[in-house]
Protein backbone atom coordinates (compact mmCIF):
# COMPACT_ATOMS: atom_id res chain seq x y z
CA UNK A 1 0.00 0.00 0.00
CA UNK A 2 0.97 3.59 -0.45
CA UNK A 3 0.97 6.33 2.17
CA UNK A 4 -0.69 9.74 1.92
CA UNK A 5 1.31 12.19 4.01
CA UNK A 6 -0.32 15.49 4.97
CA UNK A 7 1.14 18.60 6.57
CA UNK A 8 0.42 19.38 10.20
CA UNK A 9 0.85 23.02 11.12
CA UNK A 10 -1.17 22.68 14.31
CA UNK A 11 -2.82 20.00 16.41
CA UNK A 12 -6.16 21.07 14.98
CA UNK A 13 -4.77 20.76 11.46
CA UNK A 14 -3.42 17.31 12.28
CA UNK A 15 -6.83 16.14 13.47
CA UNK A 16 -8.51 17.47 10.35
CA UNK A 17 -5.92 15.91 8.05
CA UNK A 18 -6.49 12.52 9.65
CA UNK A 19 -10.27 12.92 9.51
CA UNK A 20 -9.90 13.56 5.79
CA UNK A 21 -7.82 10.51 5.09
CA UNK A 22 -4.13 11.14 5.81
CA UNK A 23 -2.07 8.03 6.59
CA UNK A 24 0.72 10.04 8.11
CA UNK A 25 1.65 13.58 9.06
CA UNK A 26 4.74 15.70 8.95
CA UNK A 27 5.28 18.51 11.41
CA UNK A 28 8.04 21.03 11.99
CA UNK A 29 10.29 21.07 15.02
CA UNK A 30 10.41 24.51 16.52
CA UNK A 31 13.05 26.81 15.05
CA UNK A 32 14.49 24.14 12.78
CA UNK A 33 11.98 23.42 10.03
CA UNK A 34 12.02 26.29 7.53
CA UNK A 35 8.53 27.46 8.23
CA UNK A 36 7.00 30.27 10.27
CA UNK A 37 7.09 29.69 14.02
CA UNK A 38 3.30 29.66 14.17
CA UNK A 39 3.18 26.36 12.29
CA UNK A 40 6.06 24.68 14.11
CA UNK A 41 5.74 22.55 17.25
CA UNK A 42 7.52 23.08 20.52
CA UNK A 43 8.52 20.15 22.73
CA UNK A 44 5.32 19.59 24.71
CA UNK A 45 3.11 20.20 21.71
CA UNK A 46 5.10 17.82 19.53
CA UNK A 47 4.67 15.09 22.14
CA UNK A 48 0.90 15.72 22.13
CA UNK A 49 0.93 15.48 18.34
CA UNK A 50 2.82 12.18 18.38
CA UNK A 51 0.46 10.73 20.99
CA UNK A 52 -2.56 11.87 19.03
CA UNK A 53 -1.32 10.47 15.70
CA UNK A 54 -0.29 7.17 17.23
CA UNK A 55 -3.63 6.97 19.03
CA UNK A 56 -5.27 7.17 15.62
CA UNK A 57 -2.92 4.52 14.23
CA UNK A 58 -1.10 7.06 12.04
CA UNK A 59 2.56 7.87 11.61
CA UNK A 60 4.19 11.16 12.41
CA UNK A 61 7.44 12.50 10.99
CA UNK A 62 9.41 15.36 12.46
CA UNK A 63 10.70 17.98 10.05
CA UNK A 64 14.15 19.24 10.92
CA UNK A 65 15.24 20.33 7.48
CA UNK A 66 17.19 23.52 7.95
CA UNK A 67 20.80 23.70 6.94
CA UNK A 68 22.17 24.43 10.37
CA UNK A 69 24.09 27.58 11.13
CA UNK A 70 27.01 26.79 13.47
CA UNK A 71 25.23 28.42 16.41
CA UNK A 72 22.25 26.10 15.96
CA UNK A 73 24.19 22.87 16.45
CA UNK A 74 23.60 22.59 20.17
CA UNK A 75 19.88 23.38 19.78
CA UNK A 76 19.65 20.75 17.06
CA UNK A 77 21.25 18.06 19.23
CA UNK A 78 18.76 18.74 22.03
CA UNK A 79 15.78 18.79 19.66
CA UNK A 80 16.66 15.58 17.86
CA UNK A 81 16.99 13.82 21.20
CA UNK A 82 13.50 15.07 22.13
CA UNK A 83 12.06 13.98 18.80
CA UNK A 84 13.51 10.52 19.31
CA UNK A 85 12.31 10.27 22.92
CA UNK A 86 8.85 11.47 21.90
CA UNK A 87 8.49 8.56 19.53
CA UNK A 88 8.48 10.16 16.07
CA UNK A 89 8.33 7.59 13.27
CA UNK A 90 11.05 9.30 11.32
CA UNK A 91 12.88 12.53 10.79
CA UNK A 92 12.94 14.63 7.63
CA UNK A 93 16.28 16.35 7.23
CA UNK A 94 18.54 17.96 4.65
CA UNK A 95 21.92 18.93 6.10
CA UNK A 96 24.54 16.26 5.38
CA UNK A 97 26.09 16.83 8.80
CA UNK A 98 22.70 16.40 10.45
CA UNK A 99 21.97 13.22 8.51
CA UNK A 100 25.31 11.79 9.49
CA UNK A 101 24.88 12.78 13.16
CA UNK A 102 21.43 11.20 13.38
CA UNK A 103 22.55 8.00 11.71
CA UNK A 104 25.43 7.69 14.13
CA UNK A 105 23.58 8.59 17.31
CA UNK A 106 20.05 7.35 16.65
CA UNK A 107 20.51 4.29 14.46
CA UNK A 108 16.88 3.20 14.81
CA UNK A 109 15.37 6.51 13.72
CA UNK A 110 14.36 6.41 10.03
CA UNK A 111 15.76 9.30 8.00
CA UNK A 112 13.75 10.88 5.20
CA UNK A 113 15.70 13.06 2.82
CA UNK A 114 14.06 16.47 2.55
CA UNK A 115 12.84 18.13 -0.60
CA UNK A 116 15.51 20.74 0.24
CA UNK A 117 18.10 18.31 -1.14
CA UNK A 118 16.68 18.49 -4.68
CA UNK A 119 17.43 14.90 -5.64
CA UNK A 120 17.39 14.84 -9.44
CA UNK A 121 19.46 11.78 -10.34
CA UNK A 122 20.12 8.18 -9.29
CA UNK A 123 23.65 8.90 -8.07
CA UNK A 124 22.35 11.54 -5.65
CA UNK A 125 19.70 9.13 -4.36
CA UNK A 126 22.41 6.51 -3.81
CA UNK A 127 24.56 9.08 -2.03
CA UNK A 128 21.82 9.62 0.55
CA UNK A 129 21.07 5.92 0.78
CA UNK A 130 24.75 5.36 1.53
CA UNK A 131 24.41 7.87 4.37
CA UNK A 132 21.58 5.80 5.82
CA UNK A 133 18.39 7.36 4.47
CA UNK A 134 15.38 5.09 4.30
CA UNK A 135 13.11 7.46 2.33
CA UNK A 136 14.15 9.76 -0.49
CA UNK A 137 11.94 12.47 -1.88
CA UNK A 138 12.61 13.45 -5.46
CA UNK A 139 12.96 17.08 -6.48
CA UNK A 140 9.67 18.89 -7.06
CA UNK A 141 11.24 20.35 -10.19
CA UNK A 142 11.85 16.96 -11.73
CA UNK A 143 9.14 16.80 -14.36
CA UNK A 144 10.01 13.82 -16.53
CA UNK A 145 8.51 10.60 -15.25
CA UNK A 146 11.44 8.62 -16.66
CA UNK A 147 13.87 10.59 -14.46
CA UNK A 148 11.86 9.64 -11.37
CA UNK A 149 11.68 6.04 -12.53
CA UNK A 150 15.46 5.87 -12.95
CA UNK A 151 15.88 7.09 -9.39
CA UNK A 152 13.39 4.52 -8.12
CA UNK A 153 15.23 1.71 -9.84
CA UNK A 154 18.58 2.76 -8.44
CA UNK A 155 17.82 2.54 -4.71
CA UNK A 156 16.32 0.18 -2.18
CA UNK A 157 15.10 3.12 -0.10
CA UNK A 158 11.44 4.07 -0.37
CA UNK A 159 10.64 6.85 -2.79
CA UNK A 160 8.42 9.81 -2.00
CA UNK A 161 6.97 12.41 -4.34
CA UNK A 162 5.20 15.68 -3.69
CA UNK A 163 1.83 14.94 -5.23
CA UNK A 164 0.25 18.36 -4.87
CA UNK A 165 1.11 21.91 -3.93
CA UNK A 166 2.97 25.08 -4.69
CA UNK A 167 6.30 24.81 -6.38
CA UNK A 168 9.24 27.18 -6.22
CA UNK A 169 10.86 28.80 -9.25
CA UNK A 170 14.29 27.64 -8.15
CA UNK A 171 15.27 24.16 -7.13
CA UNK A 172 14.60 23.65 -3.43
CA UNK A 173 17.58 24.26 -1.20
CA UNK A 174 19.35 26.18 -3.95
CA UNK A 175 17.58 29.51 -3.65
CA UNK A 176 18.94 32.61 -1.95
CA UNK A 177 16.40 35.15 -3.21
CA UNK A 178 14.80 35.85 0.15
CA UNK A 179 17.97 36.51 2.07
CA UNK A 180 19.36 38.60 -0.79
CA UNK A 181 16.18 40.64 -0.54
CA UNK A 182 15.87 40.96 3.21
CA UNK A 183 17.30 39.75 6.46
CA UNK A 184 16.71 41.26 9.86
CA UNK A 185 18.14 40.95 13.31
CA UNK A 186 15.53 39.73 15.81
CA UNK A 187 15.59 38.34 19.31
CA UNK A 188 15.64 34.55 19.33
CA UNK A 189 14.21 33.23 22.56
CA UNK A 190 15.71 29.80 21.92
CA UNK A 191 19.21 31.22 21.81
CA UNK A 192 18.50 34.01 24.25
CA UNK A 193 20.09 36.62 21.99
CA UNK A 194 19.59 38.53 18.77
CA UNK A 195 20.21 36.67 15.54
CA UNK A 196 19.58 36.98 11.83
CA UNK A 197 16.27 35.88 10.42
CA UNK A 198 15.26 35.64 6.81
CA UNK A 199 17.61 33.09 5.29
CA UNK A 200 16.02 30.64 2.93
CA UNK A 201 18.02 27.60 3.72
CA UNK A 202 19.20 28.18 7.19
CA UNK A 203 16.36 29.80 8.99
CA UNK A 204 13.11 31.64 8.90
CA UNK A 205 10.46 32.32 6.38
CA UNK A 206 10.68 32.37 2.65
CA UNK A 207 9.43 35.76 1.46
CA UNK A 208 7.83 34.14 -1.62
CA UNK A 209 9.84 36.43 -3.85
CA UNK A 210 9.30 34.18 -6.85
CA UNK A 211 5.53 34.53 -6.58
CA UNK A 212 5.59 38.32 -6.94
CA UNK A 213 5.25 40.54 -9.99
CA UNK A 214 8.49 41.22 -11.84
CA UNK A 215 9.43 43.31 -14.82
CA UNK A 216 11.87 41.80 -17.27
CA UNK A 217 13.97 44.49 -18.87
CA UNK A 218 16.91 44.89 -21.20
CA UNK A 219 18.85 48.14 -21.51
CA UNK A 220 16.11 49.90 -19.60
CA UNK A 221 13.36 48.68 -21.93
CA UNK A 222 10.55 46.60 -20.54
CA UNK A 223 10.29 43.24 -22.29
CA UNK A 224 7.70 41.54 -20.17
CA UNK A 225 5.97 41.80 -16.81
CA UNK A 226 3.81 39.83 -14.44
CA UNK A 227 4.35 36.85 -12.19
CA UNK A 228 7.15 35.70 -14.44
CA UNK A 229 8.74 33.31 -11.98
CA UNK A 230 5.56 31.71 -10.71
CA UNK A 231 5.27 28.10 -11.74
CA UNK A 232 1.94 26.29 -11.92
CA UNK A 233 1.06 24.27 -8.83
CA UNK A 234 1.90 20.60 -8.87
CA UNK A 235 -1.20 18.50 -9.52
CA UNK A 236 -0.51 14.78 -9.38
CA UNK A 237 -3.98 13.36 -9.92
CA UNK A 238 -3.35 12.21 -13.49
CA UNK A 239 0.14 10.85 -12.85
CA UNK A 240 -0.88 8.97 -9.72
CA UNK A 241 -1.10 5.55 -11.45
CA UNK A 242 2.33 6.03 -13.03
CA UNK A 243 3.88 6.79 -9.67
CA UNK A 244 2.17 3.89 -7.90
CA UNK A 245 3.12 1.44 -10.63
CA UNK A 246 6.77 2.45 -10.59
CA UNK A 247 6.78 1.83 -6.82
CA UNK A 248 6.52 5.26 -5.22
CA UNK A 249 5.61 4.61 -1.60
CA UNK A 250 4.75 7.99 -0.10
CA UNK A 251 2.68 10.83 -1.56
CA UNK A 252 3.21 14.10 0.22
CA UNK A 253 0.93 17.12 0.19
CA UNK A 254 2.64 20.48 0.51
CA UNK A 255 1.26 23.18 2.80
CA UNK A 256 2.34 23.33 6.44
CA UNK A 257 1.78 27.08 6.41
CA UNK A 258 -1.52 26.88 4.53
CA UNK A 259 -4.95 27.25 6.19
CA UNK A 260 -6.45 24.13 7.75
CA UNK A 261 -9.29 24.22 5.21
CA UNK A 262 -6.75 23.86 2.39
CA UNK A 263 -5.15 20.84 4.06
CA UNK A 264 -8.57 19.28 4.60
CA UNK A 265 -9.64 19.70 0.97
CA UNK A 266 -6.32 18.57 -0.51
CA UNK A 267 -6.12 15.54 1.77
CA UNK A 268 -9.71 14.54 0.97
CA UNK A 269 -9.17 14.87 -2.76
CA UNK A 270 -5.99 12.80 -2.89
CA UNK A 271 -7.43 10.21 -0.47
CA UNK A 272 -10.28 9.76 -2.94
CA UNK A 273 -7.83 9.49 -5.81
CA UNK A 274 -5.68 6.84 -4.14
CA UNK A 275 -8.75 4.84 -3.11
CA UNK A 276 -10.22 5.13 -6.59
CA UNK A 277 -7.01 3.80 -8.10
CA UNK A 278 -6.88 0.77 -5.81
CA UNK A 279 -10.55 -0.04 -6.40
CA UNK A 280 -9.81 -0.62 -10.05
CA UNK A 281 -6.30 0.33 -11.20
CA UNK A 282 -6.94 -0.26 -14.88
CA UNK A 283 -10.00 1.98 -14.94
CA UNK A 284 -8.52 4.91 -13.03
CA UNK A 285 -9.64 8.20 -14.50
CA UNK A 286 -9.91 11.54 -12.69
CA UNK A 287 -13.65 12.23 -12.46
CA UNK A 288 -14.88 15.48 -14.01
CA UNK A 289 -16.75 16.41 -10.83
CA UNK A 290 -13.48 16.69 -8.88
CA UNK A 291 -12.57 19.77 -10.89
CA UNK A 292 -14.50 22.13 -8.60
CA UNK A 293 -12.66 20.84 -5.52
CA UNK A 294 -9.36 21.15 -7.32
CA UNK A 295 -10.13 24.74 -8.33
CA UNK A 296 -10.90 25.63 -4.71
CA UNK A 297 -7.58 24.19 -3.60
CA UNK A 298 -5.68 26.07 -6.29
CA UNK A 299 -7.49 29.32 -5.47
CA UNK A 300 -6.65 28.98 -1.78
CA UNK A 301 -2.97 28.73 -2.63
CA UNK A 302 -3.07 31.70 -4.97
CA UNK A 303 -4.75 33.73 -2.24
CA UNK A 304 -2.04 32.73 0.23
CA UNK A 305 0.65 33.83 -2.22
CA UNK A 306 -1.03 37.16 -2.96
CA UNK A 307 -0.88 38.02 0.73
CA UNK A 308 2.86 38.45 0.24
CA UNK A 309 2.53 41.03 -2.53
CA UNK A 310 2.25 43.94 -0.16
CA UNK A 311 5.14 42.91 2.10
Amino acid sequence: MVELMSPAGSLEGAKIAIENGADSLYAGVSNLSLRPRRVEFEKGDFKKLVDFAHGEGKKIYAVLNVFLKPEDLSLFKKEVEEVYQNGADGIICADVGVISYIRQNFPGLPIHISVQNSVTNPQAAKFYEDLGASVIVVSRSLERIEDIEKIKKSVRADLEVFIHGGICYHYDGDCFLSSYWSQEMLFDRFLGKERLFGQNNAKGECHLICKREFTLSKNGHKLSEGRLLRRPDLIGLSNLPLYIEMGVKIFKLEGRAMPVSYVAKATRLYRKAIDLYFENPEQYLVPEEWQADLEEILMARRQYERNWDIK
Binding site: G97, F176, L196, I209, L223
Partner: protein
Protein backbone atom coordinates in the same frame (compact mmCIF):
# COMPACT_ATOMS: atom_id res chain seq x y z
CA UNK B 1 45.93 26.44 5.09
CA UNK B 2 49.08 27.24 3.12
CA UNK B 3 50.54 30.70 3.00
CA UNK B 4 50.43 31.25 -0.75
CA UNK B 5 47.41 33.17 -2.01
CA UNK B 6 45.43 31.68 -4.86
CA UNK B 7 43.04 33.82 -6.89
CA UNK B 8 40.80 31.81 -9.20
CA UNK B 9 38.36 32.93 -11.87
CA UNK B 10 35.43 31.09 -13.33
CA UNK B 11 35.43 31.24 -17.11
CA UNK B 12 32.53 29.68 -18.95
CA UNK B 13 33.25 29.87 -22.63
CA UNK B 14 36.09 29.50 -25.10
CA UNK B 15 35.27 32.96 -26.47
CA UNK B 16 36.09 34.62 -23.13
CA UNK B 17 39.06 32.35 -22.60
CA UNK B 18 40.53 33.37 -25.95
CA UNK B 19 40.36 37.06 -25.09
CA UNK B 20 41.20 37.16 -21.41
CA UNK B 21 44.50 38.33 -19.98
CA UNK B 22 45.23 35.52 -17.56
CA UNK B 23 47.92 37.40 -15.66
CA UNK B 24 45.75 38.44 -12.70
CA UNK B 25 44.70 34.93 -11.83
CA UNK B 26 46.49 31.89 -10.45
CA UNK B 27 43.86 29.37 -11.49
CA UNK B 28 40.74 28.88 -13.54
CA UNK B 29 37.48 26.99 -13.16
CA UNK B 30 36.52 26.08 -16.71
CA UNK B 31 32.97 25.73 -17.97
CA UNK B 32 29.55 27.16 -17.22
CA UNK B 33 27.72 24.69 -14.98
CA UNK B 34 24.35 26.40 -15.26
CA UNK B 35 23.40 25.60 -18.85
CA UNK B 36 25.10 23.36 -21.37
CA UNK B 37 23.37 25.13 -24.29
CA UNK B 38 25.37 28.33 -23.86
CA UNK B 39 27.39 29.00 -27.00
CA UNK B 40 31.01 27.94 -26.55
CA UNK B 41 30.44 26.43 -23.09
CA UNK B 42 33.67 24.62 -22.28
CA UNK B 43 31.77 22.00 -20.28
CA UNK B 44 29.99 20.78 -23.38
CA UNK B 45 32.82 21.12 -25.91
CA UNK B 46 35.47 18.73 -24.67
CA UNK B 47 37.84 19.39 -27.59
CA UNK B 48 37.88 23.13 -26.84
CA UNK B 49 38.21 22.31 -23.16
CA UNK B 50 41.26 20.15 -23.84
CA UNK B 51 42.92 22.93 -25.85
CA UNK B 52 42.19 25.43 -23.07
CA UNK B 53 43.57 23.16 -20.36
CA UNK B 54 46.80 22.70 -22.31
CA UNK B 55 47.15 26.42 -22.89
CA UNK B 56 46.62 27.23 -19.21
CA UNK B 57 49.05 24.53 -18.12
CA UNK B 58 51.61 25.97 -20.49
CA UNK B 59 51.30 29.40 -18.89
CA UNK B 60 51.56 27.72 -15.46
CA UNK B 61 48.03 28.24 -14.24
CA UNK B 62 46.10 25.75 -12.16
CA UNK B 63 43.04 24.29 -13.87
CA UNK B 64 39.81 23.02 -12.35
CA UNK B 65 36.93 21.56 -14.30
CA UNK B 66 33.34 22.07 -13.34
CA UNK B 67 30.30 19.84 -13.76
CA UNK B 68 26.59 20.55 -14.40
CA UNK B 69 25.00 22.13 -11.38
CA UNK B 70 21.75 20.14 -11.20
CA UNK B 71 22.32 17.03 -13.30
CA UNK B 72 19.68 14.50 -14.23
CA UNK B 73 20.48 10.91 -15.17
CA UNK B 74 21.14 11.81 -18.79
CA UNK B 75 23.93 14.25 -17.81
CA UNK B 76 26.09 11.59 -16.20
CA UNK B 77 27.64 10.41 -19.42
CA UNK B 78 28.98 13.93 -19.96
CA UNK B 79 30.11 14.16 -16.34
CA UNK B 80 31.99 10.88 -16.76
CA UNK B 81 33.64 12.22 -19.91
CA UNK B 82 34.62 15.45 -18.14
CA UNK B 83 36.14 13.51 -15.27
CA UNK B 84 38.02 11.23 -17.64
CA UNK B 85 39.35 14.25 -19.51
CA UNK B 86 40.38 15.77 -16.23
CA UNK B 87 42.41 12.68 -15.39
CA UNK B 88 44.03 12.36 -18.81
CA UNK B 89 44.94 16.07 -18.92
CA UNK B 90 46.12 16.02 -15.32
CA UNK B 91 43.98 18.93 -14.15
CA UNK B 92 44.31 20.19 -10.59
CA UNK B 93 40.78 19.35 -9.53
CA UNK B 94 37.11 19.18 -10.35
CA UNK B 95 34.28 21.17 -8.89
CA UNK B 96 31.01 19.39 -8.14
CA UNK B 97 27.76 21.05 -7.16
CA UNK B 98 25.60 17.97 -6.72
CA UNK B 99 26.12 15.01 -4.40
CA UNK B 100 25.41 12.62 -7.27
CA UNK B 101 28.27 14.13 -9.24
CA UNK B 102 30.39 13.92 -6.09
CA UNK B 103 29.64 10.21 -5.79
CA UNK B 104 30.81 9.66 -9.36
CA UNK B 105 33.85 11.95 -9.03
CA UNK B 106 35.14 9.86 -6.13
CA UNK B 107 35.80 7.07 -8.63
CA UNK B 108 38.44 9.22 -10.36
CA UNK B 109 41.86 10.26 -9.05
CA UNK B 110 40.95 13.94 -8.94
CA UNK B 111 40.95 16.53 -6.17
CA UNK B 112 37.29 17.32 -5.49
CA UNK B 113 35.97 20.79 -4.74
CA UNK B 114 32.38 21.23 -3.52
CA UNK B 115 30.63 24.39 -4.66
CA UNK B 116 28.32 26.71 -2.81
CA UNK B 117 25.43 24.47 -3.86
CA UNK B 118 26.80 21.76 -1.58
CA UNK B 119 25.10 23.79 1.18
CA UNK B 120 27.85 23.52 3.74
CA UNK B 121 26.67 25.66 6.63
CA UNK B 122 28.44 24.11 9.61
CA UNK B 123 31.40 22.10 10.79
CA UNK B 124 29.37 18.86 10.99
CA UNK B 125 28.68 18.88 7.26
CA UNK B 126 32.16 20.18 6.45
CA UNK B 127 33.59 17.24 8.37
CA UNK B 128 31.28 14.75 6.68
CA UNK B 129 32.03 16.00 3.18
CA UNK B 130 35.74 15.89 3.95
CA UNK B 131 35.40 12.29 5.06
CA UNK B 132 33.70 11.61 1.73
CA UNK B 133 36.69 12.84 -0.24
CA UNK B 134 36.04 16.57 -0.66
CA UNK B 135 39.26 18.58 -0.34
CA UNK B 136 37.92 22.10 -0.85
CA UNK B 137 34.56 23.71 -0.23
CA UNK B 138 32.95 27.02 -0.98
CA UNK B 139 30.91 27.73 2.18
CA UNK B 140 27.24 28.55 1.79
CA UNK B 141 26.63 32.05 0.51
CA UNK B 142 24.37 32.73 3.47
CA UNK B 143 27.15 32.45 6.03
CA UNK B 144 28.76 35.48 7.59
CA UNK B 145 32.54 35.70 7.81
CA UNK B 146 32.26 34.87 11.50
CA UNK B 147 30.26 31.74 10.71
CA UNK B 148 32.64 30.68 7.95
CA UNK B 149 35.42 30.83 10.54
CA UNK B 150 33.70 27.96 12.38
CA UNK B 151 34.41 25.70 9.41
CA UNK B 152 38.12 25.99 10.15
CA UNK B 153 37.42 23.27 12.70
CA UNK B 154 38.20 20.88 9.83
CA UNK B 155 41.82 21.90 9.28
CA UNK B 156 42.53 19.63 6.32
CA UNK B 157 39.68 21.16 4.33
CA UNK B 158 40.50 24.11 2.09
CA UNK B 159 37.96 26.93 2.27
CA UNK B 160 37.46 29.04 -0.81
CA UNK B 161 36.05 32.53 -0.41
CA UNK B 162 34.28 34.37 -3.21
CA UNK B 163 35.54 37.94 -3.37
CA UNK B 164 34.03 39.35 -6.52
CA UNK B 165 31.35 38.86 -9.14
CA UNK B 166 27.77 37.92 -9.68
CA UNK B 167 26.63 35.45 -7.04
CA UNK B 168 24.10 32.76 -7.88
CA UNK B 169 20.70 33.27 -6.26
CA UNK B 170 19.17 30.08 -7.59
CA UNK B 171 18.76 27.62 -10.39
CA UNK B 172 15.56 26.74 -12.20
CA UNK B 173 14.67 23.76 -14.32
CA UNK B 174 13.26 25.91 -17.14
CA UNK B 175 14.84 28.80 -19.03
CA UNK B 176 12.98 32.00 -18.16
CA UNK B 177 14.41 33.85 -21.15
CA UNK B 178 13.31 31.10 -23.49
CA UNK B 179 9.74 31.18 -22.23
CA UNK B 180 9.45 34.95 -21.77
CA UNK B 181 11.18 36.26 -24.85
CA UNK B 182 10.48 33.69 -27.51
CA UNK B 183 7.17 33.48 -29.29
CA UNK B 184 4.51 31.06 -28.18
CA UNK B 185 5.51 28.77 -30.99
CA UNK B 186 6.81 25.60 -29.32
CA UNK B 187 9.64 25.24 -31.79
CA UNK B 188 10.79 28.78 -31.10
CA UNK B 189 10.63 28.28 -27.32
CA UNK B 190 12.79 25.21 -27.56
CA UNK B 191 15.33 26.94 -29.75
CA UNK B 192 18.00 28.72 -27.74
CA UNK B 193 18.66 32.29 -28.85
CA UNK B 194 21.48 32.84 -26.36
CA UNK B 195 19.58 35.66 -24.66
CA UNK B 196 21.45 34.87 -21.44
CA UNK B 197 24.59 36.37 -22.96
CA UNK B 198 22.87 39.77 -22.93
CA UNK B 199 22.06 41.96 -19.91
CA UNK B 200 18.52 41.03 -18.91
CA UNK B 201 17.27 42.12 -15.53
CA UNK B 202 14.36 41.09 -13.39
CA UNK B 203 13.13 44.09 -11.44
CA UNK B 204 11.12 43.87 -8.25
CA UNK B 205 10.29 47.08 -6.40
CA UNK B 206 13.44 48.72 -7.72
CA UNK B 207 15.69 45.75 -6.95
CA UNK B 208 17.53 44.45 -10.01
CA UNK B 209 18.41 40.80 -10.36
CA UNK B 210 20.30 39.33 -13.31
CA UNK B 211 18.40 36.57 -15.05
CA UNK B 212 20.49 34.19 -17.08
CA UNK B 213 17.87 31.77 -18.28
CA UNK B 214 17.94 28.82 -15.92
CA UNK B 215 20.01 30.65 -13.37
CA UNK B 216 19.47 33.83 -11.37
CA UNK B 217 22.31 36.02 -10.17
CA UNK B 218 22.76 39.06 -7.99
CA UNK B 219 22.05 42.34 -9.73
CA UNK B 220 24.91 44.01 -7.91
CA UNK B 221 28.36 42.47 -8.02
CA UNK B 222 29.90 41.11 -4.87
CA UNK B 223 32.87 43.38 -4.19
CA UNK B 224 35.20 42.61 -1.30
CA UNK B 225 38.25 44.50 -2.45
CA UNK B 226 38.24 46.96 0.43
CA UNK B 227 37.85 44.10 2.93
CA UNK B 228 40.73 41.94 1.72
CA UNK B 229 42.97 42.73 4.72
CA UNK B 230 40.20 41.48 7.02
CA UNK B 231 39.75 38.26 5.06
CA UNK B 232 43.47 37.61 4.81
CA UNK B 233 43.85 38.17 8.54
CA UNK B 234 41.32 35.40 9.08
CA UNK B 235 43.71 32.99 7.45
CA UNK B 236 42.04 32.23 4.11
CA UNK B 237 44.25 31.72 1.08
CA UNK B 238 41.91 30.51 -1.70
CA UNK B 239 39.73 33.11 -3.37
CA UNK B 240 37.40 33.25 -6.33
CA UNK B 241 36.24 35.84 -8.81
CA UNK B 242 32.90 34.71 -10.22
CA UNK B 243 33.55 35.63 -13.82
CA UNK B 244 30.89 33.71 -15.71
CA UNK B 245 28.92 36.70 -16.98
CA UNK B 246 31.76 39.16 -17.25
CA UNK B 247 33.38 40.40 -20.45
CA UNK B 248 36.96 39.27 -21.06
CA UNK B 249 38.14 42.86 -20.83
CA UNK B 250 36.48 43.52 -17.48
CA UNK B 251 37.51 40.16 -16.08
CA UNK B 252 41.11 40.85 -17.01
CA UNK B 253 40.98 44.24 -15.25
CA UNK B 254 39.31 42.77 -12.17
CA UNK B 255 42.01 40.11 -11.99
CA UNK B 256 44.73 42.75 -12.03
CA UNK B 257 43.02 44.92 -9.42
CA UNK B 258 42.55 42.03 -7.01
CA UNK B 259 46.02 40.64 -7.66
CA UNK B 260 47.57 43.97 -6.70
CA UNK B 261 45.15 44.43 -3.80
CA UNK B 262 46.07 41.02 -2.39
CA UNK B 263 49.78 41.73 -2.77
CA UNK B 264 49.38 45.06 -0.96
CA UNK B 265 47.20 43.58 1.77
CA UNK B 266 49.61 40.72 2.41
CA UNK B 267 52.43 43.26 2.79
CA UNK B 268 50.33 45.34 5.18
CA UNK B 269 50.18 48.40 2.91
CA UNK B 270 46.67 48.22 1.59
CA UNK B 271 44.93 51.19 -0.01
CA UNK B 272 41.27 50.14 0.10
CA UNK B 273 39.88 53.40 -1.27
CA UNK B 274 42.11 53.34 -4.34
CA UNK B 275 41.21 49.72 -5.03
CA UNK B 276 37.50 50.26 -4.50
CA UNK B 277 37.51 53.25 -6.84
CA UNK B 278 39.13 51.12 -9.53
CA UNK B 279 36.49 48.42 -9.13
CA UNK B 280 33.64 50.94 -9.16
CA UNK B 281 34.80 52.14 -12.57
CA UNK B 282 34.08 48.65 -13.89
CA UNK B 283 31.08 47.63 -11.85
CA UNK B 284 28.98 50.51 -10.51
CA UNK B 285 26.49 48.49 -8.43
CA UNK B 286 28.03 46.53 -5.60
CA UNK B 287 27.13 44.43 -2.59
CA UNK B 288 28.88 42.35 0.07
CA UNK B 289 26.63 39.35 -0.13
CA UNK B 290 25.99 37.89 3.29
CA UNK B 291 29.47 38.24 4.79
CA UNK B 292 28.57 40.98 7.26
CA UNK B 293 25.22 39.63 8.44
CA UNK B 294 23.04 41.91 6.35
CA UNK B 295 20.70 41.28 3.44
CA UNK B 296 22.76 39.94 0.55
CA UNK B 297 22.21 43.07 -1.57
CA UNK B 298 23.68 45.52 0.91
CA UNK B 299 27.14 47.01 0.80
CA UNK B 300 29.10 47.77 3.93
CA UNK B 301 31.88 50.27 3.53
CA UNK B 302 34.38 51.48 6.05
CA UNK B 303 35.73 54.16 3.75
CA UNK B 304 32.82 55.59 1.79
CA UNK B 305 29.42 56.76 2.93
CA UNK B 306 27.85 56.73 -0.54
CA UNK B 307 28.09 53.47 -2.43
CA UNK B 308 25.66 52.85 -5.29
CA UNK B 309 24.39 49.45 -4.21
CA UNK B 310 20.95 48.30 -5.30
CA UNK B 311 19.35 48.84 -1.92
Amino acid sequence: MGSRIELAATVGTSEIMNEIDTDGFDSFYLGNPFCLKIRGNLSSDLEALKVTIRFLKKVRKRVYLTTPVIPTASDFKLIGNLLQLGVSENVDGVEVHDVGALRLAKEYPLKIHLSVFGNVYNQLSALKFHSLGVKRIVPSLELTLAEIAELKAVPALELEISVHGKLPLGIASACLLGTSLNSKNEKSINACHQACLEENFLILDGLKIHTKGTATFTGADLVMVEHLPLILNQGYRHFRVEGLWETAQNLSKIGQIYKEAFEEASQGKSDPKKNLDKVLEITPEVCNGWYFGRSGREYVSTIKSQIPSTK
